[in-house]
Symmetry: C2
Subunit: 314 residues, 2 copies
């Protein structure tokens, strides 16, 4: 694989629990994006794959140079075999040989990847982490996902499960995560957890706020308007997140963290205390090498990342 | 580099704060080990390097087939340049181009590595982690060191600082480590910290014990003799250590952890609760792939690892 921008045109499919976004990209450039497919409107893999193939055919009519298809899914895959083990939030998606099916239906080379890995690939290949050797990417949203680039290669782990940063523990006796794993980062800095924590902090100050009034977006607006409690909440989020990032930095001594997702939209409100926290947790030599960068891509990360994975695989 | 056992004979130097051990090995086989050099008896790098070269010359008189020298040091190195940045516990060792000096004095190809990385290499190349793709090794002693093998290669990180597992946080508001890093694992499961914690646990049960009576060795003997408090202490150590290991497993999804060092001598007293703890913190698919293994090598790990690094570099 060359580290120059690819000049291969590929289709990227960003398969989410709500919608399946399909677009066509060449390198970092998004050439076109099709009307998204509502995931739940097509019950079962057969129907949904049929709708995907329709979109692919439509796109290829306009972009006959499309040479490959990459599809990122919200769940567990076997990258080598192009096999979807299970998508927890999409009924019926279990043990699907998606690469084989897509290849048979399109005649194109296809790759299947986990969605967080595809986002990581987009940021490393064409985004904030471009050209760096060792990069850790995170998306902060309802859940916390991530991916690991080691020696200029996406590192997938021994059973393709690497990069589950949201499940890492920041407290040996802390809040249980999805697997009963105590102190799971996601249970501190996930969207809903930030909101719930904010409700508590406001209540302590005698201010009654509902969870709906305490979305990360609201806390960011309040902090920008000078609300001390809101600023304090971001500092706490930075403390939790920074603890996990510093542990990763001690283990992997990377060039950069690239952070995206809704929560990262808070910008300096999050990144400033996060930098301070991570710095306070590291030795000079590990810190000096390290950058903490906001992601370049947002909604288009999935399409660009999956298209790039597909283009780079041929 | 072939993954067969090397048939190259190399000298391994295990440079410790107390003594410098020098031996000659071929693959996993230790052919001979020389009388150790007391580190402090040779103030300054010049004198100590002189003593090392003397030993190397003596060894080569008996093993003329020696083809390379590997030296592992207790501190920060630049592996690519063979440069010692600093050895915190050995006065005068700062900015030493050790590989160049050793090469000039011996005429042999030399490699310089961090000591925990050399131990990791020994365990992956010839020890408990032999043949595995992704392996994390730890030594549990006064400090907690480690190393990372990714895709069958020692992973050194962007400034050669990867593998500092003892500095990873197990509690975002926990005990500060050497760098002020809150919750540093080393401050929970280091030799002295286990002893201090045991004193507290015994005191709570109305039993007065000194730190000297609570070395990990003593706690292991007491636990073997059926002492419930001692067993409880090992379970707590397993909890702390298992928290860090599970975080690493979520991030890197490795094939194995290999655990050595004095504290690991507790055997099943540590490994049994550790397995339970790590399993309780992981998803089935990550856990299924994972082995938690006691190290094969003990005192000889440094010599074998450094000799192997040297042999594999030519």
């Amino acid at each position: 694989m060359s580290l120059q921008d690819s000049n291969i045109t590929a289709i990227g499919i960003d398969f989410g629990g709500t919608s399946v976004k399909i677009g066509v990209a060449r390198g970092p450039e998004m050439l076109h994006s099709a009307e998204p497919i509502p995931t739940q409107a097509h019950p079962g893999p057969q129907a949904l794959i049929g709708a995907m193939v329709e979109r692919i055919d439509e796109i290829r009519a306009h972009f006959p140079e499309v040479a490959a298809v990459g599809c990122g899914v919200p769940g567990l895959v076997d990258f080598d075999r192009g096999f979807v083990h299970e998508l927890t939030n999409v009924p019926g998606w279990k043990h699907i040989p998606l690469r084989t099916i897509l290849h048979e239906r399109t005649g194109l080379p296809c790759v299947i990847e986990n969605d967080a890995n595809a986002m990581t690939y987009a940021e490393w290949r064409y985004g904030a982490g471009k050209g760096l050797k060792n990069v850790i990417a995170l998306t902060l949203g309802t859940g916390v996902g991530g991916g690991v680039v080691i020696n200029q290669q996406l590192y997938r782990g021994s059973s393709f499960c690497a990069g589950e940063i949201g499940q890492m523990s920041v407290h040996f006796d802390g809040k249980p995560g999805h697997y009963g794993n105590l102190g799971a980062l996601e249970k501190y800095v996930g969207n809903n957890q930030i909101a719930e924590h904010a409700v508590v902090r406001y209540a302590e100050a005698g201010v009654e706020r509902s969870v709906e009034e305490c979305r990360p977006k609201d806390i960011a607006l309040a902090a920008q308007a000078g609300d001390d409690i809101a600023r304090q909440i971001w500092a706490e989020v930075a403390d939790w997140l920074g603890t996990a990032l510093s542990s990763i930095a001690w283990l992997l001594n990377p060039d950069a963290f690239v952070i995206g997702g809704g929560v990262a939209q808070a910008g300096p409100l999050l990144f400033d205390p996060l930098e301070r926290k991570v710095k306070s947790m590291l030795s000079t030599i590990v810190w000096e090498k390290l950058q903490i960068l906001p992601a370049r891509f947002s909604n288009e990360a999935g399409i660009i990342g999956n298209a790039a994975l597909a283009a780079d695989s041929i």
